[in-house]
């Protein structure tokens, strides 16, 4: 059992190295260095789902779940902006019910900007961006009603979800919508996997906005994150190797030095 009220020097260095790497890659990417991001299957499905809505001439729905303004919301907004641009381009109606008021106002602005960027500011319908309720199941009940009444062709779930995830995704399935979902909430991913057509799992959520926007800041950050994960991975490999060493050659490995450094 380990107690951390304030970090030891190694923990501080670990944080600093990972942080500095991320900031460093962001800055190099901004200076114009080309970076690579692998294909993320679920994200290409967004275009497919938009295409289907165009064919059917029915609206699409985007939900953030119970998300409030914060770290996770920034990513969701980037994806929303991508979807809104496509909606403007192909003339699809985009409905966005929101459960948080500050986020509601920002979402409205993001969508409006996307329509303007596509040269169709007149097609933007502010009444389609709605604040429903900040109460979990009241919000869920409201979105369920919307899906039924508007006969949506596609539904996108990007944000933070709790128990309402399956209530919404299963309703979308019943009304016959193509659904794409992504959330960093690990406990809700299985429900999206069973009830939606494409699910972006775990960390892919954070990679998503970089993949879609190709914005240098996000691309750089993604590369930095990979290096950060690599650092953690190497630490785990070393720690495990030392643990084996302690087991097999106790005369040489008096203790697990990796663990010692980390404060264990």
């Amino acid at each position: 059992m380990i107690r951390i009220e304030h970090p030891n020097w190694f923990q501080t260095v670990l944080w600093f190295v990972v942080s500095a790497t991320i900031v460093g890659t962001i800055l190099t990417a901004r200076r114009g260095r080309q970076l690579f991001v692998r294909r993320i299957p679920g994200l290409t499905a967004i275009d497919e789902a938009m295409g289907r809505a165009t064919e059917m001439g029915r609206p699409v729905l985007f939900t953030f779940g119970l998300l409030g303004i914060g770290i996770v919301a920034m990513q969701a907004l980037a994806i929303l902006s991508h979807i809104a641009r496509q909606a403007a381009r192909y003339g699809i109606r985009l409905i966005v019910p929101v459960a948080d008021v500050p986020l509601y106002t920002i979402a409205e602005e993001v969508i409006k900007e996307a329509y303007t960027a596509e040269g169709k500011p007149e097609a933007f319908r502010p009444e389609d961006i709605r604040f429903l309720s900040d109460q979990q199941f009241a919000y869920a009940a409201g979105v369920i009603g919307l899906m039924h009444r508007e006969k949506v062709a596609s539904v996108f779930y990007f944000g933070y979800f709790y128990a309402e995830s399956l209530l919404l995704a299963e309703t979308g399935q019943v009304v016959g919508a193509v659904q794409v979902a992504g959330t960093p909430a690990t406990t809700q991913i299985p429900f999206f996997i069973v009830a939606t057509d494409y699910t972006i799992i775990g960390d892919e959520y954070y990679a998503g906005s970089a993949y879609l926007s190709r914005e240098p800041t996000l691309m750089g950050s993604l590369v930095g994150q990979d290096i950060g994960k690599l650092i953690l991975l190497v630490m785990i490999l070393l720690g495990t190797a030392f643990a084996v060493g302690v087991e097999l050659l106790p005369s040489i490995f008096a203790q697990n030095w990796m663990a010692k450094l980390l404060g264990g």
Partner: protein
């Protein structure tokens, strides 16, 4: 992915849905009315929670953190009852405490009162209810350093200085264990501000959906034991040799799990038969 699902498919899906719903209703109604109680052998996480509670020094207080409301009563209620029953038997003093779900302390008090009658325990002497306190993480941090300053009075408005159970309770050192009974992601606050800083023992009773997420904490010894939803409560009742709500409801649970497993098997049979016909 077809652009427009054919109507025949729609009605067939709808019929399947209604059948599933009806079967579930009948199964649960029948098993609840029939009421056979079943026992469940305790799993290692349940047993370690039991042992951890047994090992708490008698003079220390146990905090029962009631972070649930009616929404998840189906799981958290029986868990709470099992834990409180154990504490009454061992004779540990405990405090009910709410900081996430405002109705939590009241719901737990109702459970505690019933059990107190059974074990002839007195409020204020053997147990107290701190009620709901606001301030979330900041308050939890403050609580570790000075309990009387944050709690001041119990849920019924009595100053805690007048409650014998609270005599000598000053800070985290007087707390033997925090038992977090919860329907939402509240564990991290206790881990970051109590266990991670002072090494306080944490017992964890989450709802079923959060159980797999709890194992990384159990593995890292950040929590001392774990009740796996309603099943955990039933296992705990088995350890206590009682038949509470959990044991009775586990029968309905068994039946509905069987229904779902049969559904999955049926679904696969239908899928492969249809697949063959098309091929």
């Amino acid at each position: 992915m077809t652009p427009e699902a054919p109507p025949a498919q729609d009605t067939r899906d709808a019929r399947a849905r209604y059948t599933i719903f009806a079967v579930l209703w009948v199964t649960v109604l029948a098993t609840l009315l029939w009421r056979p109680a079943t026992t469940l052998a305790p799993s290692p996480p349940t047993r370690s929670l039991y042992d951890a509670i047994e090992a708490i020094p008698r003079e220390k207080l146990v905090i029962i953190s009631a972070s649930w409301d009616v929404g998840t009563r189906g799981e958290n209620g029986p868990q709470t009852a099992a834990i409180i029953e154990h504490l009454f038997r061992t004779g540990h003093k405990f405090a009910i405490f709410g900081w996430v779900a405002p109705p939590g302390p009241l719901l737990v008090e109702m459970i505690a009162r019933d059990l107190a009658r059974k074990y002839h325990k007195r409020y204020g002497v053997d147990w107290v209810n701190w009620g709901f306190k606001t301030g979330t993480d900041a308050m939890i941090m403050g609580l570790a350093k000075n309990i009387p300053a944050i709690i001041r009075q119990d849920m019924h408005g009595t100053p805690i200085t007048k409650l014998p159970a609270m005599k000598g309770v000053k800070d985290h050192r007087d707390v033997g264990m925090v038992i977090e009974i919860t329907g939402s992601g509240t564990l991290l606050s206790w881990i970051q501000f109590w266990q991670g800083v002072y090494g306080t023992n944490i017992g964890y009773c989450p709802t079923g959906v959060m159980v797999p997420d709890a194992f990384p904490f159990l593995d890292a010894k950040q929590i001392r034991g774990l009740l796996k939803g309603l099943a955990g409560a039933a296992e705990y009742e088995n350890l206590l040799r009682t038949h509470g709500d959990a044991s009775v409801r586990m029968t309905a649970q068994s039946a509905s799990h069987l229904v779902i497993i049969l559904l999955i098997i049926l679904g696969n049979i239908a899928f492969f038969r249809r697949g063959k016909r098309q091929a």
